[in-house]
């Protein structure tokens, strides 16, 4: 009991870079190494490009909707890069860039938003759960996956993502509590982007920070500047290592900002001002990282061009893939409800097939 103060997160979010991209003095964690920083930068650039490209596809009517992580790419990058191959990622609808950074084919990821099917990728291929829509529900699945791995003696870590709004749901509480009680190796990574659609953080919580919620579960918690890529990486690396080595679940809150509307269907001008948004432009994670790498002479022109090219290639593949018209087979509607369709589903499938054949489809 004497050490419950250790459960309090740091007073200020961990920072390695200031807003101009200069290293801050007296940082509490070391910088990730050079290779990791370059990998992170690559992922940042691709993430931004993915967000932009998806936005364009929405405007062209190729995607119905896209919840962009523009401005949150440092978090997206960190979430993916902190994991080992055998680990699991549990993303939300906003974490497309993280899913792609983990290796999933962007076109498969966008199946959902294109409307062809629900989850478009194989969750087992890269150990990425389907993107979750019902808020906070996926956090419990993450605990289950982690607990199962632990019971089998595997050293899998599960990274479970959610937003600030989702922390208000009962499932958030139950997930953190189950993880803590069972010491399940989960890193709960909350991207606090200040909004849940139109609802500001002050309506979600009266706590000093969302990381403070860790105390109530006896869980280590940390806060990080979510637009500071090296810091996000360093904090998540530490959290993943702690979870992996049996220190139990970890809670990390990243302070970031949702630069765009909730989705293209949203009108952010109804609830926040340009004056509020503008200062965040200066904190852009990509600019900060680039400034740092340049200052450290880690980013040559050639390197940069190569990365930009890679990002362009991803965008092109995305554009082409998403623009391909797929005609999902209605018969599939009945195929996956159960491992083997019930007699009733067989009847219903036959009914539809008959209907379609009569329509000459």
């Amino acid at each position: 009991m004497a050490d419950d103060r250790d459960l309090l997160p740091s007073e200020q979010p961990v920072r390695l870079l200031d807003e101009t991209g200069s290293p801050v003095a007296g940082a509490s964690l070391p910088f990730p190494d050079r290779d990791r920083l370059l990998a992170a930068y690559t992922s940042l650039v691709i993430g931004r490009r993915v967000n932009d490209q998806a936005g364009a596809l929405v405007r062209q009517g190729r995607l119905a909707v896209y919840p962009s992580s523009h401005g949150q790419e440092a978090c997206q990058t960190g979430a993916a890069l902190a994991l080992a191959e055998g680990d699991w990622l549990f993303p939300t609808y906003r974490d497309t860039a993280a899913v792609i950074a983990r290796g999933v084919d962007p076109v498969e990821v966008l199946t959902l938003l294109k409307g062809d099917w629900h989850a478009g990728y194989d969750p087992y291929a890269h150990r990425v759960a389907p993107q979750a829509t019902p808020l906070a529900t996926q956090l419990l699945h993450a605990v289950g996956v982690a607990h199962a791995a632990r019971l089998r003696g595997e050293d899998t870590v599960v990274m479970a993502l959610c937003g600030d709004g989702a922390t208000s749901e009962g499932d958030f509480h139950e997930a953190l509590n189950f993880a803590a009680v069972f010491r399940a190796p989960v890193v709960f990574f909350v991207q606090n982007n200040e909004y849940a659609i139109s609802v500001p953080l002050a309506r979600q919580s009266a706590a000093p920070s969302l990381a403070h919620k860790g105390v109530g579960y006896g869980m280590n918690a940390e806060r990080v500047d979510g637009n500071d890529t090296p810091a996000v990486l360093a904090v998540l690396d530490r959290a993943v290592a702690a979870a992996r080595t049996g220190e139990g679940p970890q809670l990390v809150e990243a302070h970031t900002y949702r630069m765009q509307a909730h989705t293209n269907a949203d009108d952010a001008s109804r609830y926040r001002s340009k004056e509020e948004v503008d200062p965040w432009e200066a904190r852009d994670p990509l600019l900060r990282m680039e400034a740092y790498l340049k200052r450290k002479r880690l980013l040559t022109k050639a390197r940069k061009a190569e990365i930009t090219e890679r990002a362009e290639a991803v965008a092109t593949a995305m554009r082409e893939g998403v623009s391909k018209d797929v005609d999902p087979d209605p018969a599939e509607l009945f195929a996956h409800v159960f491992a083997t369709p019930t007699p009733q589903l067989d009847e219903q499938a036959a009914f539809l097939a008959d209907e379609l054949s009569r329509e000459g489809n």
Binding site: A64, V65, L112, L113, K114, G115, D116, W117, H118, T133, P134, L135, G165, A166, S168, E169, G170, D171, A196, I197, S198, V199, R203, Q204, S205, A265, D266, D267, R270, Y271, V326, D327, P328, P330, E332, L333, F334, V337, T342, Q344, L345, Q348, L352, E355, E359
Partner: protein
């Protein structure tokens, strides 16, 4: 309150109903996710915070059980809360509150504690929504004793049913067919629609009766129109009030034609459509020339946007079902 007929979308009619109810009764409070400054993701609560202040229409933390549970307490304490669940599937976290408290409180307290509250649920498909945004969840509520459950099919109906729901001393689950939010229609605010508990014959007809509600009513009307072209006269009954159900109107309609098709978007198994088939058959058995047919969603999770048209009851499918009503026996 203007009394001239005006053209309103269903979303606007609902908004108008909320405004009028809030203006008339200061016990009416509106809250939920994004219902304040944003005005709701469907703009049904647009302008209410500005007009009535932050106390009367406000955003809550993001937690549906919390929203419904808090509404229970406010209703216990003299208020008439109207809460919004953002989408059908996002009401499920509140299921325990709804089934174990909202539905049961009057009964368990022997009538001492009534809960005058409305749970608005934008529901069903037809708008190309992604998974978890298109569930037809009315059966869960309709099966639960103690809940009044209604579904409007026109802007005027939406206005008056919502006013009625807010005025009710009992909890009402108010199912709003999302795909009808934007369609405009004349609304004459001076001519009330029938109260909760009453079905409405939306189109007369003599050969067979279509029984529909909510999002399926316009489709049933379209089907009747198409049938008329082919010389078959279909009557269309809008059930509107799923609980309490208007057996009298529905059964009179079915007896008058001797044939019936129930049209509903929800998966058919153990659904409100099953109930309508069962109760109509029980009551009208010897007037029926053929078994009552159902046109419902298949027993599958709601499909992705590209496939949703196969799940939704359409005009052709309804007409096929009508064709199937054993006309050869005539």
């Amino acid at each position: 309150m203007a009394t001239d007929p005006t053209k309103l979308s269903m979303a606007q009619a609902l908004n108008r109903a909320l405004r009028d109810a809030m203006a008339e009764d200061e016990a009416v409070y509106v809250f939920g996710e994004d219902v304040g400054p944003l005005g709701g993701v469907f703009r049904v609560t647009d302008g209410l915070t500005a007009e009535f202040g932050e106390d009367r229409c406000f955003d809550t933390p993001l937690a549906e059980s919390g929203i419904v549970g808090m509404a229970v307490g406010m209703a216990m304490n003299g208020m008439r809360p109207v809460v919004e669940m953002q989408f059908d599937a996002f009401a499920y976290p509140a299921f325990e509150q709804i089934v174990s408290h909202v539905a049961k409180t009057r009964n368990r307290t022997r009538g001492r504690v009534g809960l005058p509250m409305v749970i608005r649920v934008p529901y069903a498909g037809g708008i190309g929504g992604v998974e978890h945004h298109c569930d037809s969840s009315e059966a869960y509520y309709a099966h639960t004793p103690g809940l009044t459950v209604v579904a409007p099919s026109t802007p005027a109906d939406a206005y008056f049913l919502l006013r009625d729901a807010i005025a009710s001393d009992d909890p009402v689950v108010f199912m709003e067919p999302k795909k009808l939010y934007w369609g405009k229609d004349e609304v004459d605010l001076s001519t009330p629609e029938p109260p909760i508990g009453r079905a409405v014959v939306r189109r007369p007809g003599t050969d067979a009766t279509l029984i529909a509600y909510g999002p399926s009513v316009p489709t049933a009307l379209e089907a009747a129109e198409a049938a008329a072209q082919e010389g078959r006269s279909l009557q269309v009954v809008d059930a509107r009030s799923l609980v309490p159900f208007d057996d009298a109107t529905v059964c009179e309609a079915v007896r008058s034609t001797g044939r019936a098709v129930v049209v509903a978007e929800a998966s058919g198994y153990a659904s409100v459509a099953s109930e309508i088939v069962a109760r109509v058959t029980e009551r009208c058995f010897h007037s029926l020339a053929a078994p009552v047919r159902r046109v419902t969603g298949f027993d599958i999770p709601f499909p992705p946007p590209k496939l949703e048209r196969f799940q939704l009851p359409g005009v052709d499918r309804i007409l096929d079902a009508v064709d199937d009503l054993q006309w050869e026996d005539q």
